[in-house]
Symmetry: C2
Subunit: 476 residues, 2 copies
């Protein structure tokens, strides 16, 4: 594996000082304040310089009227200055020794006018002339908890295994926030917009060589250089699992992508071929990516595709079995010897002691469930165990059920010696959500994958298992 | 259309008195208390008789020690008596003039033993001998808000257009609770379990002729009489849209269904053919059924498949377009004349004024959004409008955005003269859920379909439009 220090992006992702040019003084609620609030929330340790012609002070930090007024060198620049002033900012930044400028600013090539194209070209030329690298324009830039950098203040302060390359800032924020309580954490994320200089392949190469990144996730609308990307993707998939959400997968979506980040979306068939060829996990939505990342982060590699399903509810047990069965995961019948072991302490009526096991009536005590889980863990005929239930909103029911699940399963999982995941088919009823969110957090704390629907669990687990098989084939 | 009065099930679904045999006295938290609590919560107006050998009083209602002690005739019986006492209960009920007994009791044919099969046969024979009809066994029975009957106390008290035939009690409760805040209401629902007497075809015939039922939803694990069901389904689809979730769609799931309701699941290909032949909307999960029922309940029939997408977020706009595009819904480009109209009051940078329209920056005032919606409503090139956004959790953002959406869209929708639906791609973050649930309720109150993800919206809308086309072909 390559050393991080050899990649020039390592410095850009770990700047010693940051300037924010174009901060809006008048409106503290303006969304671009997230750039400053993010740095302060993550306690960025280096100097922060603010620049706006009006001067003054924001959150106790002096605002310089001109970039050249900054008394020290600046390593990294965040910019919201107007598109017309952007090329000049690059030259100013170069004089302060900046390695990179990230332009949040929109109004370049993506608006489709001659002027927009010209302004972006000027940016590229200013970058080349000065050696300053450009992130964007039309993007939110870097989130790197290790370096205390964040473009939103609510992002987690702790790091994790996922590196995320995301052409859209909104989609980056959606994913990072959506998986927070499920325990998925990021090594680095970058929203890179129009990619007029640094592009998806540069970020991919960097994350491939980054030891803190164990899993690579990508949202890409278009690629700048097909050959370069192909090479970077081949290398990445050889070393790490890669998940791709392709924006602009349809003709209609491709038109949208052109308007969003001036991307040429390319043929979707070509993308599909590329994914198959190198063993990339392809997903269609942020939700699907969330579930796949939960799986990659937490589910230990099962030796095969045979699943024991145990949970509550007869109808639920039929539906969850269909979801796993329809994706080619096996749900083998429970051997009679194990059925008899279960019957020793479980009534037959109201419980279904095959596989799936409907364990509805014994959920009021931890003892029966714990015994059952240990019997399943000993079953050599399955490779992983899925606990499932449908949480129809009912305070009494949840108040009884969740502590039993926590004690018998979540806290015991490490002693089972078999991969385990939990599926709570939950509603959006606020009281239910309030009760189950701490439970989901508890699962994550104990290193367990949890899901919000039978379909999403089966889909993500199947995709991850298939991808492991595929990558083994390719490497073998 | 047939008159409700001609179907004998109409009386069973509107009983003048109800007895609950086998109520548990000792544990007020026991889940079977839902049968009594449901009747009391919906203020069932007729007499309620409770029966348990221990006698006493529950919630102010006298408990008779023997069924024969009930002083009056009984129209309908809910039973949780043990399986061995069930045939006797039917004979007791017949002496009191009961038309039907619903057996919650499990431990019959579904447990797969000779004894279970024998007990169920005795039940059938007692029913035939006495003329008492049987719902179940192994089920939760009837929810009919019009008759103030409910097997769970939290179910809505008001009626709506959906009739739901559901072999699983748990799945019935999951669906009814899941769509409550989205405004879907039920004319009748029945959980019917093993269907040893009254079966899916009987319920389907009844709901087909029931004027209060405009949409029929079904969760079926197996059918009792293929020819009878085929005939009932053909008639039903001729009159009403029918949605089917088939439990036991896979080999593994079929085995689970056998253990759950003793159903022979049948070949899935045969089911698929049946659905295509008669124009049934087939869904794979309760979630998918929820979205289809929201669509059938609220989305006015659009004249075609051309969609205007308007919302917030560049990355979101690409993803939502892909979801609609990949299902064959058209997203035609916005005509230049309308683009120019929008440009009169909308900045080009940060907004994308094609179709999809990314309207991020103008969301802080209602005026711009309202103007834009009215321009889209005049656009003859599209058949429906979808408003979309991804709600990345942020209190300030939501607090600003939701009132704008409510004022400019939800309260104005009726004046647009074009079908409209809203998609809020939301997380499970409890604070976000707490804020958006009232908004979703407001949509339902104003007769608007709302969805929780781009994929589920596109999927449900496509399925409903395709089904309308298919049923028109079949009838035409």
């Amino acid at each position: 594996m390559s050393n991080t220090n050899h990649n020039p992006l390592a410095d850009i992702f770990h700047p010693r000082s940051i300037a924010f040019a174009g901060i809006i003084i008048s409106d503290p609620e303006h969304w671009t304040r997230n750039f400053l609030n993010g740095l302060l929330a993550l306690k960025y340790p280096g100097p922060i310089y603010l620049v706006n012609p009006r001067g003054g002070e924001v959150r106790g930090i002096k605002v310089y009227e001109k970039f050249s007024d900054i008394p020290e060198n600046v390593d990294y620049v965040i910019s919201t200055v107007p598109s017309k002033a952007s090329a000049t900012l690059i030259r100013d930044a170069a004089l302060k020794g900046a390695k990179a400028v990230q332009f949040c600013t929109a109004g370049f090539r993506e608006i489709g006018t001659e002027e927009g194209r010209k302004l972006e070209q000027e940016l590229v030329e200013a970058g080349r002339a000065t050696g300053v690298r450009i992130i964007g324009p039309n993007c939110l830039g870097i989130y790197n908890p290790e370096a205390c950098m964040s473009f939103r203040p609510e992002f987690p302060k702790d790091s994790g295994p996922v590196g995320f390359i995301c052409q859209s800032g909104g989609n980056a924020a959606t994913l990072i926030n959506r998986v927070e309580h499920r325990g998925v954490r990021f090594s680095k994320a970058v929203s890179y917009g129009n990619a007029c200089d640094l592009d998806e392949s540069d970020y991919l190469e960097y994350l491939t060589g980054d030891p803190a990144t164990k899993i690579i996730a990508m949202y890409i609308e278009g690629i700048k250089d097909g050959r370069k990307f192909r090479k970077a993707l081949e290398k990445a998939t050889r070393e790490k699992p890669v998940v791709l959400l392709k924006g602009g997968a349809t003709e209609e979506g491709a038109r949208a992508a052109a308007g969003h980040t001036a991307s040429l979306a390319g043929s979707f068939t070509a993308w599909e071929t590329l994914c198959r060829q190198f063993g990339v996990i392809r997903v269609d939505s942020i939700e699907e990516m969330s579930d796949v990342l939960v799986t990659l982060t937490f589910l230990p590699e099962p030796p095969g595709r045979r699943v024991a399903l145990i949970g509550a509810g007869g109808g639920s047990s039929v539906l969850v079995t269909d979801e796993f069965g329809r994706r080619g995961l096996e749900v083998p019948p429970l051997p009679v010897a194990l059925q008899n072991e279960l019957l020793e302490f479980t009534p037959a009526a109201g419980n279904i002691l095959h596989n799936p096991i409907d364990y509805s009536q014994s959920l009021s005590t931890t003892e029966g469930l714990d015994k059952t889980m240990r019997i399943l863990a000993r079953w050599s005929g399955v490779d992983l165990i899925i606990w499932f239930t449908s949480l129809m909103w009912n305070e009494t029911y949840l108040a009884k059920r969740l502590p039993v699940l926590t004690k018998s399963i979540v806290h015991q999982a490490k002693t089972f010696g078999k991969p385990l995941a939990l599926v709570l088919e939950a509603s959006n009823e606020p009281e239910e959500v309030k009760l189950i969110t701490p439970f989901i957090r508890e699962c994550a704390k104990h290193g367990l994958a949890s899901y919000y629907s039978f379909a999403s669990a089966a889909n993500a687990i199947d995709k991850v298992i298939r991808n492991r098989e595929r990558r083994q084939q390719l490497r073998g």
